[in-house]
């Protein structure tokens, strides 16, 4: 850190100091991390080069396993993206005060992960050179087209939803003059934090928070529909829309928890990510784990009870057959681990939630695997042979590169934006206690008049 930067930083408030410090101070570990991630990405890009050069034959895909890692990763990443926007929007709309410290980091996950999610189907194309045909020859009955539209919309609305609440912080950085003055002057859009500006800003945030919820819900619903609209066993299910949204939120919370634990550790944000955050998010995770169990149970019971032969082939391949290992691992990681960890207050700690979060993330990836692969390899026609699918190193490398790419961008982003919303923390400190007191009072019988409707 250059001395003048250090000097300028010291002039700021303690919150600002703490939250802006990561932007100007970079450790050795960071560079090592970046180097590793970049190497992985280059490796993945090389793998993709081979795939494009020689054909999708370089994957482990075949007939009838037409879809594999890429589609799994697509569903998974778009699911993770529900971390930020949806959760932060819900918390904002419901005026949960404890949200203040966590919304930014969550929304950032969203924006970065959508991009990586959205390119998965393109990586999966046999003819990426013709991707524009999706617009030139759009066929509106295809769920894939609905998906292109909804993901596009989702990406832009999330980006705006990340950006707008960030404007006051950008202004703070501009004013502090600690980093790239021109960039931040440009990004801050002349925001001066006047009361009018603040009011307008909060109104826009309010509207965005509401608008973004149905968009987010639609995105994962449609992804569920990609499968549900086919007539394949264990895909063709009305539950898939909500099931996918629920799963998305679940994995999203898992991702936030992991991100928070990491950020707290490396940027020393213990003061901001407090036990209560982990406790509350842990409770949400607990709730989601129960929902997950409920949905999954309902889905499998319905299939089992109906006992249609084609469905049962897929069903048994998951329960006792080829896919029993991923299936039961999923049951373990998606339900048992998070449920038992989050059910007890003593394990709703950062460490406990980290384990639960990682477990949920792995579990939800496996859930997507268990949706995509067993159905693909079990054709409806019994007389056809069941297929098999083993991803190739190309697919695994590309997947690893996408995950690294996400982590890399996230790391780099923390160097350009405060990972905790400074102004919201400050605002909270100034106004929350009063506002909450008023609000609480307004719930209680007989006190409403006393406080007034101001």
């Amino acid at each position: 850190m250059r001395p003048e930067v250090r000097e300028r930083l010291s002039r700021l408030s303690p919150d600002q100091q703490a939250l802006l410090r990561p932007m100007v101070h970079t450790s050795r570990g960071f560079y090592i991390g970046v180097a590793v991630l970049v190497a992985l990405m280059i490796w993945g890009i090389f793998a993709y080069y081979l795939q494009v050069r020689y054909g999708l034959g370089r994957t482990g895909l075949n007939r009838p396993s037409y879809w594999g890692i890429y589609i799994i990763t697509f569903v998974f990443l778009i699911g993770i993206s529900h971390a930020g926007t949806l959760i932060s929007a819900i918390l904002r709309v419901s005026k949960a005060e404890w949200r203040r410290a966590i919304t930014r980091s969550a929304e950032l996950i969203t924006v970065l992960v959508i991009g990586f999610g959205a390119i998965q189907p393109i990586i999966d194309l046999g003819r990426p050179d013709r991707v524009l045909n999706v617009f030139l020859h759009a066929q509106p009955r295809s769920p894939l087209l609905w998906d292109v539209v909804s993901i596009g919309l989702y990406f832009w609305s999330c980006t705006i939803y990340l950006y707008v609440p960030m404007i006051p912080d950008l202004a703070i950085i501009r004013d502090a003059g600690i980093k790239a003055p021109r960039l931040y002057r440009y990004l801050a859009l002349g925001y001066r934090d006047t009361p009018r500006q603040r009011a307008v800003l909060e109104r826009i945030i309010g509207v965005l928070a509401i608008a973004v919820i149905p968009i987010a819900v639609s995105v994962h619903t449609i992804i569920g529909w990609i499968f549900a609209m086919t007539l394949r066993p264990m895909w063709h299910s009305t539950i898939f829309g909500p099931y996918f949204v629920m799963g998305a939120i679940y994995s999203g919370i898992g991702a936030i928890l992991v991100a928070m634990v990491v950020l707290r550790r490396v940027y020393r944000l213990e003061r901001y990510f407090r036990d209560v955050h982990f406790d509350y998010l842990g409770r949400m995770l607990l709730l989601m784990s129960l929902l997950w169990f409920y949905f999954t149970f309902a889905e499998y019971l319905t299939v089992f009870y109906g006992a249609e032969p084609a469905e049962m082939r897929t069903f048994w391949s998951k329960i006792t057959g080829t896919y029993a290992l991923p299936f039961w691992t999923m049951a373990f990681t998606c339900f048992l681990i998070p449920f038992f960890l989050m059910a007890r207050k003593s394990t709703r700690t950062p460490r406990g939630t980290l384990i639960a979060g990682v477990s949920v993330i792995i579990g939800m990836w496996l859930e997507r695997y268990n949706i995509v692969v067993p159905t693909s390899v079990n054709p409806i026609l019994e007389i056809e042979h069941a297929g098999h699918y083993l991803p190739s190193w190309i697919e695994l490398s590309i997947m690893a590169a996408c995950f690294s790419g996400f982590a890399l961008l996230y790391m780099i982003a923390t160097k350009f934006i405060p990972i905790v919303s400074i102004w919201e923390i400050e605002e909270g400190k100034e106004d929350s206690v009063r506002e909450v007191a008023e609000r609480v009072a307004s719930y209680l019988p007989g006190t409403a008049d006393a406080v007034g409707e101001a």
Binding site: Y31, V38, I42, F46, Y49, V52, R53, R127, H385
Partner: protein, 788 residues
């Protein structure tokens, strides 16, 4: 720290640049996407011809666009195949345009088998060979020239034989389909020819192991009989397949009867028992036309048991049931159906005869046809005519030729009633290297013994003894690789050849294969080469083959058809029916008044046929001295007595059934897959990719065992195993198949691994054979499986 970051970015940049230099333009499709095959609106022709890939010789039609054969379909006018084809015929285009066909004649430059060649023009290659032959003849040793020829029935075979006769060598060695049926007909009917099976006219076909839908003489003949065009439902004939393996034929026969290996004859006798016991057989036919049915005095005047007594004494249904594994009721009902249907036929072939007692077993099966009188009757066994071709000119023999022909053929004498494995006996004699059996020059025509023989090591040895080896193979097959000179033949779709229907078909059909595309420059029609050699040798050899080229020879032979006074150029079904009806009434009207238009029409329509069979002709029943069908041929009785083991026809040892041989617990059951064309499977990629749909398998050789056997041995489906026998081993994929009896190993033959390595169960055969026909025994070898 800034420093570090800049370095870092540089590294990324460099990596990116490197990657794009690696060939970014390849990443984006250029015009490569549609392979440029140089298509333009073309001139299209449809030419009728014949498929020469297997003995069936189906009628084909080629679609030729701008001089390329792009498609083969059936010739609907061909009476045997009627527009249908099998996968091998369809894949013919891939044989014609195979990337590995030889581009020109090759003469060896390195040492044998090393694969070093110099290419030379056909003209020179033929001269080289002609000089060699001249020398051999000049030395007065014409018999030291030999040819090993695969299946080439028709004018090609006649040409070879004539050439050898005129040259003066008895060593025309046939390495073609032998099923022993001719030996049986010869003994029982006195007719030295293979029988025809009138499947088309039959309403019940009982096949004893003959793989009618897969190989046999003509799968197409069987298909057409099984589901005749326009005939549906109950009018179709019934097929009953008696087999040791649940083959595709068994699967699609209306009924299938699984029997223990080696028990076909016992089952046939069991049926005969019921036929006789229940008085179901054709008594009047037997009395009038058959001898040996009742007890009879033999040449020494002793009274011998006749067929009836033997059967009644030895084949009580329960015993037969025990020996064959077929339930008693099944045997009875089978016999009843066979008797009740007025037009039933028992079909048999190599599956019955390729066994140690094969000749006797074949006689036992055929005796069913005789008992029912289904001989020389529609729907039964017929003795069809050959097409009335003009014979080749009588060979002219000079002194050398006459002397040479007197010399003994190379190889042990053939067995009493058959030719057996002539090629192997030939090779054994040379490998044994008795100087008198020396071969100076060996020609290989449609033969690849190093790959196809059951004893390649004997062949390898034999080839080493032969100073000059010439192969006519269009491909560098295993044996061609050991040749000194290769003069590649043209492929079937670019050469003239006649394609007579196989003996199994009751009517004479003379289809003509015509060149549909420009012949490959490096290739020469072997028929033309032989004629050319004769001309160069000159003298009596030339006089014996006075034909300019093979086409001239074919045209000359067709003169016989033109002036036969019966038959027709191939025509529609309506024309065929019309023609047949006319001939039945003794009428025949010539369609052409001159030969030229006749020939043109014949070529254009694909051939000639005569669909009239005269059942009233007694000469089609038996040529024996007494004019009767012999159930107890005296020559056979004499031979059996001579063996001194007290063996009697129609009595089979029911306890002989071996179940395992020390250390080799599984019975090897080689069978032919329908995509296979002899040993040449690797020639067509479509077929090599999927040699069978049953099991559904791609590219790799496999063996089948029952799931129970697999489990018992601890093997799982799809595993690679060694099939090990006393004589050797080969590698194959194991397939658990419900169609294989426990304890057996179903072993398709003719397959290769993708790298060319052979997987040939025939090379494991135990070497036993039928002493009377010499046919090798194919299902008495025992093996074990080992994990590979």
């Amino acid at each position: 720290m800034n420093q570090t970051r800049r370095d870092f970015l540089l590294t990324i940049g460099a990596a990116g640049a490197g990657l794009s230099a690696l060939g970014a333009q390849d990443v984006f499709w250029t015009t490569e996407e549609i392979p440029d095959v140089g298509w333009a609106p073309g001139i299209e022709e449809r030419l009728n011809s014949a498929c020469l890939i297997c003995p069936s010789r189906c009628g084909i039609q080629g679609r030729v666009v701008d001089g390329s054969l792009v498609r083969i379909v059936g010739n609907t006018l061909h009476p045997l195949s009627r527009g249908g084809l099998c996968p091998r015929g369809l894949a013919g285009v891939q044989m014609l345009y195979h990337p590995e066909r030889l581009a020109s004649p090759l003469v060896r430059v390195g040492s044998r088998g090393e694969g070093e060649w110099r290419s030379l023009p056909p003209e020179q290659a033929i001269s080289l060979l002609a000089e060699r032959l001249q020398t051999i003849r000049g030395n007065g040793r014409p018999e030291s020239l030999a040819v090993v020829a695969g299946y080439c029935a028709g004018t090609v075979e006649d040409l070879w034989r004539q050439f050898f006769q005129a040259f003066g060598s008895p060593n025309y060695v046939s390495d073609a389909y032998e099923d022993g049926t001719d030996s049986i007909m010869s003994l029982m009917h006195g007719i030295p020819a293979r029988p025809s099976f009138d499947l088309d006219g039959s309403d019940l076909v009982v096949s004893f192991g003959a793989s009618l839908f897969e190989s046999w003489w003509s799968p197409l003949q069987a298909f057409v009989a099984y589901a005749p065009p326009g005939v549906g439902g109950d009018e179709r004939p019934r097929f009953i397949q008696v087999d040791t393996r649940f083959s595709r034929t068994a699967a699609r026969a209306q009924e299938w009867v699984g029997v223990r290996p080696g028990s076909y004859a016992v089952l046939a006798m069991g049926l005969a028992y019921v036929l006789i016991r229940d008085q179901l057989y054709d008594d009047s036919f037997v009395r009038e036309h058959v001898s040996g049915f009742e007890d009879f005095p033999d040449e020494q005047g002793r009274l011998r048991e006749g067929y009836r007594s033997l059967v009644m004494r030895n084949y009580r249904t329960e015993e037969v049931s025990e020996a064959t594994g077929v339930p008693v009721e099944r045997i009875t009902s089978l016999a009843r159906s066979f008797a009740e249907s007025g037009r039933s036929v028992a079909v048999f072939g190599p599956d019955v005869t390729q066994a140690p007692g094969g000749l006797l077993a074949g006689m036992a099966v055929h005796s069913l046809n005789i008992l029912m009188g289904h001989v020389n009757r529609p729907g039964g066994i017929l003795f069809g005519d050959s097409p009335p071709l003009t014979p080749l000119v009588p060979p002219v023999l000079d002194e050398t030729a006459r002397a040479g022909s007197q010399r003994p053929r190379i190889g042990r004498a053939p067995p009493a009633f058959g030719r057996g494995t002539q090629a192997l006996r030939f090779a054994e004699a040379i490998a044994g290297a008795a100087p008198s059996t020396e071969v100076e020059a060996l020609l290989l025509y449609y033969a690849n013994p190093l790959a196809s023989s059951s004893h390649p090591e004997v062949w390898r040895h034999a080839l080493e003894q032969i100073p000059f080896i010439v192969s006519f193979s269009p491909f560098l097959d295993e044996t061609a690789l050991h040749a000194d000179l290769i003069i590649p033949d043209l492929l079937p779709f670019e050469r003239w050849q006649d394609a007579p229907a196989p003996d199994s078909y009751p009517y004479p059909v003379w289809a003509v294969a015509q060149p549909m595309v420009e012949p490959h420059e490096g290739g020469t029609h072997t028929g033309d080469v032989v004629l050319d050699l004769a001309a160069r040798l000159g003298g009596t050899v030339g006089e014996s083959l006075p034909y300019d080229d093979f086409l001239t020879l074919l045209r000359t032979r067709a003169q016989g058809l033109f002036s036969a006074g019966h038959g027709m150029v191939l025509g529609s079904e309506f024309e065929q029916r019309h023609h047949r009806q006319m001939e039945e009434r003794g009428w025949w009207l010539p369609e052409h008044s001159e030969f030229e238009p006749f020939w043109e029409d014949l070529v254009q329509r694909g051939g000639w046929t005569d669909l009239y069979y005269d059942e009233t002709d007694p000469a089609r029943l038996a040529w024996t001295p007494n004019g009767q069908i012999e159930l107890m041929p005296s020559s056979l009785l004499r031979a059996l007595d001579g063996e001194g083991r007290g063996q009697v026809p129609y009595v089979f040892d029911r306890t002989q059934d071996v179940v395992s041989v020390n250390g080799f617990p599984l019975r090897l059951m080689p069978y032919r897959v329908s995509t296979l064309a002899s040993g040449t499977l690797t020639l067509q990629r479509w077929l090599a990719e999927q040699p069978s749909i049953l099991p559904d398998i791609l590219w790799t050789p496999w063996v089948e065992v029952s799931p129970a056997t697999a489990a018992e041995l601890g093997f799982h489906d799809g595993e690679t195993v060694w099939v090990v026998a006393a004589r050797g081993r080969y590698r194959a994929r194991l397939k658990a198949s419900l169609g294989t009896a426990p304890g057996n190993v179903g072993a398709p033959y003719g397959l290769r691994h993708p790298d060319g390595e052979l997987a040939n169960p025939l090379q494991l055969l135990d070497g036993s054979s039928d002493p009377f026909t010499g046919l090798p025994s194919w299902s008495t070898t025992f093996v074990r499986l080992e994990r590979a």
